[in-house]
Subunit: 204 residues, 3 copies
Amino acid sequence: MFDIVYGLEMIGIVAFAISGMIAARSKNMDPVGVFTIGFITALGGGTLRDLIMDNHPLYWIKHQEQPIFILCLAIIFSYWNRLGRIRESRIVVPDAIGLGIFSILGAQLALDLGHSWFIASLLGVMTGTFGGALRDTLCNEVPFIFRKDQIYASISFAGCWIYFLCQWQLASETVSLTIGLLFIVIARLLAVRYDIRLQRDKTY
Amino acid sequence: MFDIVYGLEMIGIVAFAISGMIAARSKNMDPVGVFTIGFITALGGGTLRDLIMDNHPLYWIKHQEQPIFILCLAIIFSYWNRLGRIRESRIVVPDAIGLGIFSILGAQLALDLGHSWFIASLLGVMTGTFGGALRDTLCNEVPFIFRKDQIYASISFAGCWIYFLCQWQLASETVSLTIGLLFIVIARLLAVRYDIRLQRDKTY
Amino acid sequence: MFDIVYGLEMIGIVAFAISGMIAARSKNMDPVGVFTIGFITALGGGTLRDLIMDNHPLYWIKHQEQPIFILCLAIIFSYWNRLGRIRESRIVVPDAIGLGIFSILGAQLALDLGHSWFIASLLGVMTGTFGGALRDTLCNEVPFIFRKDQIYASISFAGCWIYFLCQWQLASETVSLTIGLLFIVIARLLAVRYDIRLQRDKTY
């Protein structure tokens, strides 16, 4: 079990770090800004999760290869010009992957620590969305909470419950994890593609 | 003692959640935004308090009926149109109640954990004001720290000291709690009514 | 050893508190705002460090004379008009001293708790820069992450590694601490004096 979870975590971290660095580069930040945004996007959600559940040492302190990897990625992103020219619209795919992986892993960790399904789903949503929310707050003029984007947190919430139900009925951890994960990634990409929102904007 | 404290806590949570949801609706946010602002306003102060004092599990994880209740309230607020039309000026009363309850309960918890009066009053002020400060930061264009509003944190600070002095002299927990609480709520409402400020604005 | 570390910590707190209060006064904030910004600038970095490393009780709760001292300083700053007229450019020197002291002390504490050099240098940078970043975010219109200021976090990072190498080679804690500290303060002042940046601004 450990290997799959650890592998997924690394994929999620890379995906979120890349989404953060694309955003930082498209705002023309300097290398320290690129690393800071990448670091916060990739590790912010997990740090909030670990602090709230008192799960010490934090996972990026236990696995220091993760921040080292983000540092290398930030140097490549800052000085390799072709990467600097990636448009911000390319964030969508790595962001959806990071959202899926972190939501499910956050919910799973909360279950392992003995929390209820409801608390675990809240912690899954926080783990999945907090890094991206910080990235958007630091890189955008409009605060993330005002933007009526395509459904985001709701997909993460639904994905966590699908994962719980699968695990309860199927008893196979790996299959449930895959189903929950795929649901979130696919639903998020469809929401962006077909512009699905909770509420239409009337006034702005 | 437990019942009074728990009952007050629930009243404070409902008051702050409502103040957050009124602010979110008046900014025309979608249901996820309404829940997020309500959740952060109601539970932000207590989460900061528990993290700083290493008081785990966090109170809303221990009492999961609290976030469930906020979720139900957010659904009602989002889809019941009459509630959506409440003006932002109606925040004042629930906000004053939340400020009073969370300040006194935060200070009391800090005393219970063996901290000094001064540290307990600081933690009381943080517990009482942090949720509302986050709400104002997320819902307003002007950061809360720039607004020379009617006295707010100072009332919370004074109320904590009144509570400590009463408890020390009267030896009755319930009476002291009530006096401190009433002081903060009434003083805050008077400050808004008669526009009492620490410093007048000259330049803005 | 304790005395030197504690003395340095107090100097760092005073330096950062003053830099925060100058910023708050130059924005014409009221006394509560001056105290809040001073408190957050001086104690924010250490609080983040202690929360991330689960180092409880927090240092300002253990040493309550520190917040009391900041409170007294805030009252003097708010009501003594001559201090209120200090220009914001005067922040540079206390800010450089605070950056140096908190970076090195944060890194040292992380080493003491058994973390690797890399993790310790990250925590040193966080401890040194977080208070100032919060101050700049709360007091400025332009978020700190967008400003291509003279090198700041990079100096803190380099200073931590110089401290580790000195400690490893020289085996004298006090001498290494002094070298790391002086490097950061002097490098920062030179960076401001000669306007050294990681990347020039082209677009803004």
